[in-house]
């Protein structure tokens, strides 16, 4: 059943384009049946889970890697599962109407259904890797959804940006999860949840925490990665609503909440989450009143909410966790309603900016009602569920010890600005002077009102009867986050206390800001430095820098010239050898010069001189000849140290090579462009380094005693086995017959080459058409 629930979405997604082509916009109602069914099915678990039970399902997948499809259904995953399927139901209905007749509606449903299924898989998975797979699937599918409006330039860029930031964070998350599993000994959440001591005392705790947080922060748009979320607003409205109210961006929050029992509670956790969360909360609310686009105000207020949730998870006290679950539910309800309402405004009027709309309450009374209800919950006004969340939030930050003062101030500031933002959303379009609009607006049809209506009403209902939420899922969710039972005590009235005072202040100041909103906004927008400080600039700068670095590296490393390739190869070899010598065998080889006699020295000097001439001469033939001299010198050495056979081979090979080279080079023009001095100097340095390392290598090798010399064997067996008295002869024709054959073969081949060259020259001369 669990598998069916998770994967039904993918199956339906595959059928979506075909069904949509058949049924048109009405198909939304059909698709809505799936999330609705899942919602009902999940709701069936409420009694058992509220009583403290949890359910675990196991399906084998990749046993070799210890990765299985395991699912955990407890308070936390139930809360998210209900939100995803519940809001998903309304989104399907809404999108069926909203995008009715759109060219790519079928494809849209494909990605939307796949997205929903991935999201469900994410929150239900108990295996970290399975969770990660779903995590990335949400990134991909949301990418396709965000970039849905192909023609829009901004849409393209933001799709790219959102995907890049989240996929990048995802890879960090993967490393974090793998490490966590290694430390904790399992990929299973159910087992990890009990191993917090092992993990937190491990030396790798900090890297694990930071890597995982990198993943969750990018996904949940925390500062400094918050910029992609408002940019993702280019997506069609139902998507924005779905992505930003209930789902994708909350995936990061979900994972932090999920891992709270394992990773949470430490000072690092508290400070990192608390500070980044509070900073995100403040930035989000500030940017919300600084913008004026319908969706961007909502998007930034979502950033605010995500920051708040992160901050509360960081504080981690029972009150904070109670506040987190309450705030989470409240936010999902009102934000979904507000996004859909904003979509309705755009749909009806054709405008996308709060400055362009006003006084719509007469034409769109029902929308006004629902939008207003949701906005009241956002502002945290008394009988609404948002109020309870906000009160608890204030209470929690007041309790926080380490960084309490700072985050309390930030919380108050963003509380004020949130009220202002709520007023912008809830009052501005409906009241005031009627502004002219592109189309004549009227209330949209049922499909587009159902979602906002139900969600906004729920915000009021749960505010009046908070125990419904508390008893059904919130207590259980808090239990799952805290790892121990938490008493929520949800009620509207707590008496006159500090949180209430803070609420009152934020209401008053917030409304004042709204009253002067145009001035405030222009004032804020005039502060351009906010843009330059923005992390988006950083993102762009990094992207540009990457390209610059890349091009520079290409020029240096990949210039197409073979000589540089060889240079790099040789220098790397040198570096590796030098490194090995220096780090492992820093002993200068003891060299014994005693056996050297005069004739050896003379030949050695001749070789060196010939080599020097070879590199400095300006004539090709001179270089070839002197190189030949080097070879002959080496051959002499062989002869002197009683290896005449090798010496003879060397002489023959050397002769043939010189002849071949001369014949080839003779046909080339003389040196024309000699290299510059600097180039030659560089080459000289490379040559000296390489030669030096090889010399060192040889000197070191001399000392090494290899296995017994082979000459004893030859002397002993020469006569008995091969019946030859001349040992050299025997070696050549008996012991090393194959070697000799090979040498003869090589020489013969070279001779054929020489013959061919000479013949070619002779023919050329005969024909006389070439010099």
């Amino acid at each position: 059943m669990m598998l069916t629930a998770v994967f039904a979405g993918f199956v339906l997604a595959a059928l979506a384009p075909w069904l949509t082509a058949r049924l048109g916009g009405r198909v939304g109602w059909l698709f809505a049946l799936l999330p609705a069914a899942i919602f009902v099915w999940l709701a069936g678990y409420i009694p058992a889970i509220a009583a403290g039970e949890s359910f675990y399902y196991h399906y084998p997948w990749i046993p070799g890697l210890d990765i299985n499809l395991t699912f955990l259904l407890d308070g936390l995953s139930l809360l998210f599962g209900l939100l995803i399927s519940g809001i998903g139901t309304f989104i399907m209905i809404y999108a069926g109407k909203y995008l009715d007749g759109h060219q790519y509606q079928g494809r849209f449903f494909l990605f939307l259904l796949a997205f929903m299924a991935s999201m469900l898989g994410l929150v239900l998975s108990s295996n970290l890797i399975a969770l990660f797979v779903f995590w990335e699937l949400t990134s991909i599918t949301s990418y396709m959804l965000i970039g849905f409006n192909h023609e829009d330039e901004k849409s393209r860029k933001s799709a790219q940006q959102g995907l890049y930031v989240t996929v990048g964070g995802g890879l960090a998350l993967m490393t974090g999860l793998v490490t966590l599993a290694m430390v904790g000994g399992s990929y299973e959440l159910v087992e990890l949840l009990g191993s917090s001591e092992v993990v937190q005392e491990h030396a790798l705790y900090l890297p694990i925490l930071l890597l995982i947080l990198l993943g969750t922060f990018t996904k949940s748009a925390q500062v400094p990665f918050h910029f992609w979320l408002p940019n993702a607003m280019a997506a069609p409205t139902p998507v924005s609503a779905y992505l930003h109210s209930a789902t994708m961006v909350k995936a990061g929050v979900y994972l932090m909440a999920r891992l709270h029992p394992t990773l949470g509670g430490t000072d690092t956790w508290m400070i990192v989450l608390g500070l980044f969360g509070a900073a995100t909360m403040f930035t989000g609310s500030l940017m919300a009143i600084r913008s004026s686009g319908l969706k961007s105000v909502l998007a930034y207020s979502t950033v605010m909410a995500l920051g708040t949730l992160t901050m509360l998870l960081g504080v981690g006290t029972p009150t904070a966790i109670a506040a987190a679950v309450t705030f989470l539910l409240a936010h999902s309800l009102y934000k979904g309603a507000l996004f859909m309402t904003a979509g309705n405004i755009t749909h009806e009027t054709g405008h996308k900016d709060f400055r362009d709309v006003g006084g719509l309450r007469r034409e769109m009374p029902v929308s006004t009602l629902f939008g207003g209800l949701a906005a009241l919950s956002l502002a945290g006004i008394l009988p609404f569920f948002g109020f309870i969340g906000k009160e608890l939030m204030f209470e929690a930050v007041l309790e926080a010890n380490t960084i309490g003062t700072l985050i309390t101030l930030l919380a108050l500031a963003s509380g004020i600005m949130t009220v202002a933002a709520a007023a912008i959303v809830g009052l501005r379009p409906w009241f005031g002077v009627r502004k002219p609009t592109k189309h004549t607006p009227h209330d949209p049809p049922l499909a587009q009102l159902l979602g906002p209506g139900v969600l906004a009403s729920l915000g009021l209902l749960l505010g009046l009867l908070p125990f419904i939420a508390e008893r059904s899922v919130l207590s259980a969710a808090a239990l799952a986050i805290a790892g121990e039972p938490v008493e929520l005590k949800l009620s509207l009235w707590h008496g006159f206390n500090l949180p209430l005072l803070m609420s009152a202040i934020s209401l008053l100041v917030g409304l004042t800001i709204y009253w002067k909103w145009d001035t405030v906004r222009e004032l804020l927008q005039a502060r351009r430095f906010i843009d330059t400080l923005g992390a988006e600039r950083g993102y762009d700068a990094i992207m540009r820098a990457l390209v610059v670095v890349s091009e520079w590296q290409t020029r240096v490393l990949q210039n197409g010239h073979l000589r540089y390739y060889i240079l790099t190869t040789v220098m790397t070899l040198f570096a590796l050898l030098a490194y090995t010598i220096l780090t492992r065998y820093p002993v200068w080889p003891g060299v014994d010069f005693s056996g050297i006699e005069l004739q050896h020295l003379v030949i050695a000097v001749l070789i060196v001189l010939a080599a020097l001439v070879a590199v400095s001469t300006h004539s090709r033939l001179g270089a070839v000849a002197t190189l030949g001299a080097v070879g002959f010198g080496v051959a002499l050495m062989y002869v002197m140290f009683s290896a005449p056979d090798v010496g003879i081979t060397q002489v023959l090979v050397e002769t043939l090579t010189v002849i071949l080279l001369v014949l080839v080079l003779f046909r080339l023009p003389g040196f024309l462009d000699l290299t510059e001095h600097s180039t030659r100097l560089r080459d000289a340095i490379v040559a000296v380094l390489m030669g030096g390392v090889f010399t060192l290598l040889l000197l070191m090798a001399i000392d090494v005693q290899f296995f017994p010399s082979i000459s004893e064997y030859f002397i002993e067996h020469s006569y008995p086995s091969a019946h030859g008295r001349n040992i050299v002869n025997v070696i050549l024709v008996d012991f090393r017959t194959l070697d000799t054959l090979g040498e003869i073969f090589v020489l013969a081949l070279a001779a054929v080459g020489v013959y061919a060259m000479i013949k070619l020259r002779a023919e050329d001369r005969k024909e006389g058409d070439r010099p």
């Binding site: 990335e136 799709a159 990048g168 290694m182 290409t554």
Partner: protein, 479 residues
């Protein structure tokens, strides 16, 4: 030395491929343009036959023959079968491309088959001698294949560079081998391993020999800083040849790495570990960063291949059976993705037009949404995003690295993978969000379209069910 009758049966597939390659060489002489398809069919039949032979010879144990120079173990069987499969698919892909360019000749097929033989010998080598023989047979075939279009200046230049650098790398490999032979007195990998374990020989020279050999191997793998040939050759060679060079030989290079470093020099693990770390980091970083600036898709894929080689090395350097299995998994997966990557270039090109510029992919979604989706699969897989197979390969390698305690290395690898994701995702952006620069319809042959779609779908299917291949790879190192 007593002459012992070797167990020829173990090398049946090699002998079969050799015989068939010679036969095809002869048969091809009597064929004309129209009947050339016989060469093609015979080549495919050779691969199928070799596959069946190898499969029937599969044993879970390790057997030596030919005086200990040839080994047959599970790893060898699996890698050989992977090579046949990859080359088989490559032949399927390239037929129409070759036909359109007057390259549908016997040379292409016989050279490729000799290359396959070289790979097989490398994979089953248990001595420096066989290892080097296989390597050179493969390399020489590849040099010739790159230069197959003799009138193409770019290809000729690429072949020349490839040959010169390759010869240098081979020389270094040989030099290193000779040093090891000098110290241990044997070419046999088993003997060398034993000699090192006994510990009575001079480690210093062993290590120097090791350094030289590593340079040679790194060149064959295309690891930075011995990678310079890769982009030039991938770019210059005809796409069909590039597809061959970039896939199956990597599998053989992996075998080379395992045979040399694990079977032969396992006792020097602490020594080669550092160097491999360095090679891996350089490959992953340079490969991924340079790929960003590329406008030619073949060069981009070349750098992506370099980065993948780095990941492959990461798996091996952990020095555990899990790590080797992860490396093996990675290389097979890479070969499958590489086939698809260059297959996509083949698919888009037509007679007289090579679709090797990134611009050519603009707006592919409007020209052909199905192919765009397939390319999307390939790119996500290469970037290592689930649920595609590339993700599992990266995961397995990272697991091995983390398990060996090198968290920092895993993190570094991930950072550069993030950078790498940039250029893969850019291709997707071009396909889906840009207007097409070229309105010509994409009309690949039915065969090519089917192979390409199949390949991309396999990337997805393997991503959904990676368990079987993973089990095979783990089994290969479970001895």
């Amino acid at each position: 030395m007593n002459f012992e009758m070797p167990n020829f049966a173990l090398a049946m597939p090699e002998m079969f491929v050799l015989g068939m390659a010679c036969l095809i060489l002869l048969v091809d002489l009597f064929l004309n343009e129209r009947s050339r398809v016989v060469t093609y069919l015979l080549s495919q039949a050779t691969l199928v036959g070799a596959f069946i032979l190898t499969l029937s010879l599969y044993t879970p144990v390790r057997e030596l023959t030919f005086s200990g120079t040839f080994v047959l173990d599970p790893m060898a069987s699996v890698l050989k079968m992977a090579v046949y499969a990859v080359v088989f698919v490559m032949f399927l892909y390239t037929r129409s491309y070759l036909q359109a360019r007057q390259m549908f000749t016997g040379e292409f097929y016989t050279l490729a088959l000799f290359g396959v033989l070289g790979m097989m010998v490398m994979i089953s080598a248990h001595s420096f001698l066989t290892l080097y023989l296989g390597l050179e047979l493969l390399s020489l075939s590849m040099y010739a294949m790159v230069a197959l279009q003799r009138d193409n200046r770019v290809a000729s230049e690429a072949a020349m560079k490839y040959f010169l650098l390759g010869a240098m790398a081979s020389a270094m490999l040989l030099y290193g081998m000779s040093m090891l032979y000098g110290v241990t007195g044997s070419l046999d990998l088993g003997e060398i391993s034993r000699a090192i374990d006994e510990g009575e020989i001079e480690r210093m020279l062993l290590v120097f020999g090791l350094v030289f050999m590593l340079v040679g191997v790194a060149f064959k793998l295309g690891a930075v800083p011995f990678h310079m040939w890769v982009p030039d050759v991938y770019h210059g060679a005809p796409t069909a040849v590039t597809q061959f060079i970039s896939t199956a030989p990597k599998i053989a290079a992996f075998a080379l790495l395992i045979r040399l470093l694990v079977d032969g020099l396992g006792g020097l693990q602490s020594e080669w570990h550092d160097i491999l770390v360095l090679l891996a980091i350089l490959s992953i970083s340079v490969g991924n960063i340079i790929a960003i600036a590329q406008t030619n898709i073949k060069r981009m894929l070349a750098y992506s291949g370099i980065a993948h080689a780095g990941f492959l090395i990461l798996g091996v350097l952990s020095g555990t059976a899990e790590g080797y299995a992860a490396g093996m998994f990675y290389v097979i997966v890479y070969a499958v993705m590489g086939l698809a990557g260059f297959g996509m270039v083949l698919l888009m090109s037509r007679a007289g037009f090579e679709a090797d510029s990134l611009e050519d992919y603009k707006g592919l979604n409007q020209r052909n949404p199905w192919f765009a989706l397939m390319v999307l699969f390939i790119m996500f897989s290469m970037a290592g995003v689930p649920p595609f197979i590339g993700f599992w390969a990266k995961l397995a390698v990272l697991q091995a690295v983390v398990a060996s305690g090198l968290i920092w290395l895993a993190v570094l690898a991930v950072i550069f993978s993030v950078i790498g994701a940039f250029y893969y995702l850019r291709v997707i952006k071009l396909m889906y969000f840009d207007a097409p620069a070229d309105e010509a319809r994409i009309e690949p042959g039915r065969e090519l379209a089917a192979v390409f779609s199949g390949n991309a779908l396999v990337i997805l299917a393997m991503g959904l069910f990676p368990g079987a291949l993973m089990a095979i790879c783990i089994q290969a190192f479970a001895l």
